[in-house]
C-alpha cells in the first residue's frame, strides 16, 4: 500500500520556522499536523491542513532525549483529532540537508504514542514525520496493521512543487 503525504509549501515553511526556534531547555522542538485522508489509485493520500505548535511548557525536561513532550501536548493533539475527525502526524526536524531518518529513540517512542490516537480516531491512519532542510521521511500506522508503513512519497504542493522524499 502506497502512502502519499502532501502539504502546502506555505504550511511546510511555517512548520520548519517553528521547529527551528530554540527552546529554553529542550534540544529540539516537535509539533503535530492535523490531516485528512483520501483513497487513491495506488493507496491513500494524507492531506495536511493544520499545524499544532507545542507551547514551551508542554516539553518535559529530560536530558536523555532531544525532545520529550508531556501529557498537555498529547491531550491537545487528541482533542484536535476528535474535534476535526483528523488523522494526526507528529513532526520534528533534523536540520541538515539530504534524506533524514528517525533515530532509534524516535522509533521506539513513536511506536508507543502514535497508536494512542486510535483511542479517539480508530479508523484513521496516524503517524510521524521527520523533516530535514530539503527532504522528509515518515512512518504511518494504518488501522488493523500493527507495524508502521514507510511513507512512500512526500510532496510540498506549491509553485514550484517540492518533492521531499519517496519514489521520484
Amino acid at each position: 500500500m502506497n502512502v502519499h503525504f502532501k502539504l502546502t509549501v506555505a504550511l511546510l515553511d511555517g512548520i520548519v520556522a517553528d521547529l527551528r526556534r530554540p527552546h529554553p531547555f529542550a534540544a529540539e522542538r516537535a509539533g503535530f499536523i492535523g490531516c485528512k485522508v483520501s483513497r487513491c489509485r495506488d493507496g491513500f493520500l494524507v492531506l495536511s491542513n493544520t499545524y499544532l505548535s507545542l507551547s514551551d511548557d508542554w516539553y518535559a525536561d529530560d536530558q536523555r532525549f532531544g525532545c520529550v513532550f508531556n501529557s498537555h501536548a498529547m491531550r491537545a493533539a487528541m482533542q484536535f483529532a476528535l474535534t476535526n475527525d483528523a488523522s494526526m502526524f507528529h513532526v520534528h526536524l533534523h536540520d541538515h540537508k539530504g534524506l533524514p531518518w528517525f533515530s532509534r529513540p524516535d522509533i521506539c517512542e513513536s511506536a508507543r504514542y502514535v497508536p494512542d490516537f486510535w483511542n479517539v480516531k480508530p479508523k484513521l491512519p496516524h503517524g510521524t514525520l521527520v523533516l530535514s532542510a530539503n527532504a522528509a521521511a515518515g512512518l504511518c500506522w494504518y488501522p488493523e496493521i500493527k507495524k508502521p508503513i514507510r511513507i512512500s512519497r512526500i510532496t510540498a504542493v506549491g509553485f514550484p512543487m517540492r518533492f521531499l522524499g519517496g519514489s521520484f
Binding site: R41, K123, P125
Partner: protein
Amino acid sequence: MKTIHIRQSFLGEHSDELFAGVRIGVVGLGGGGSHIAQQSAYLGIGRFAFFDPDFLDFPNLNRTVGATLADANAKTPKVAVAERVVKSVNPDAEVWAIQTEWQKDFDLLRACDAVFGCLDGFSQRAQLEESCRRALIPLIDIGMDVHKDYPFSISGQIVVSIPGEPCFRCIGFIRDKDLDEEGRRYGVAGGNPQVVWSNGVLASTAIGILVQMLAPWCRIRTGSRFIGYDGDGFTLEHDARLTVVSQAQCQHFSSISDLGDPFWKP
C-alpha cells in the same frame, strides 16, 4: 540524462527522472487536451491519466492533435488517440485511458500530481477544481471561445489553481452568476466554434507553466496565474484581477473539512 532530453538539460540534471515519475491528469482530450498529451509526452512525463467519455468524429478532426481520418471513420475514443500519441513517443509511459467522465474515477484523479482541465463550462470547472483542492492537486485550466458577434473574435485563458493560493472564485474566474446562467442554458449550447491554433497557444503555455512548477528554469514571481489570450491581436497578458488577490488567503478551500474523502473507510 537520456539523449532525447539532452536539449532540455537546463531544466535540471535529474529533470528527466523527475518528469518520468510524475503523473499528470488530463480531463478532456479534445482540441486543448490533445495538445497537452502530445507535448507532455515529448517533455518526458512518464505517467498519464486521461479522462474523456467522447469519441473522435469528423467535426473534431480540425483540431485534435494525433487524430486521423481513420479515427473519425472508426469513432476511436479520444483517450485512445491520446494514448497512441504518447506511446508513439514514449512506449514505456504508463497510460490510464479512461473513456468515461472524470467524476467516475476519483481514485485515479486523486493519484495525479497535477491536473490539466480542458473542459467546457463553468460548472465542470468548478467541480474539477473542488476535487483537485480536496486532494491538494494543482490544476491548470485552459479554455477558448470564438465569439459569434460579427466580426468574429477569439479569446481564451489559462488559469492556475494552486492549493493554498487564490482559487478560481477568489480571482473572479468562476462566479455564481456565470454558473446560474450556464444552468439556465443547459442543453441548448450546441457545438461552439473551435480552431487548432488558439488551442495550441493555450496548451503550450499551460505546459510551460507545468514545467516551471516542476523544474523552474527562472525566478518565479507567483504560482497562481490568470492569463488572458487575445486571439485577434495574438497576445497573452496577465489578468489584472489576480494582482488584487494574489497575496490573500483563499477563503473557499482553507478549512480542514475541505480536504480528503468525506466517506473515508480504511
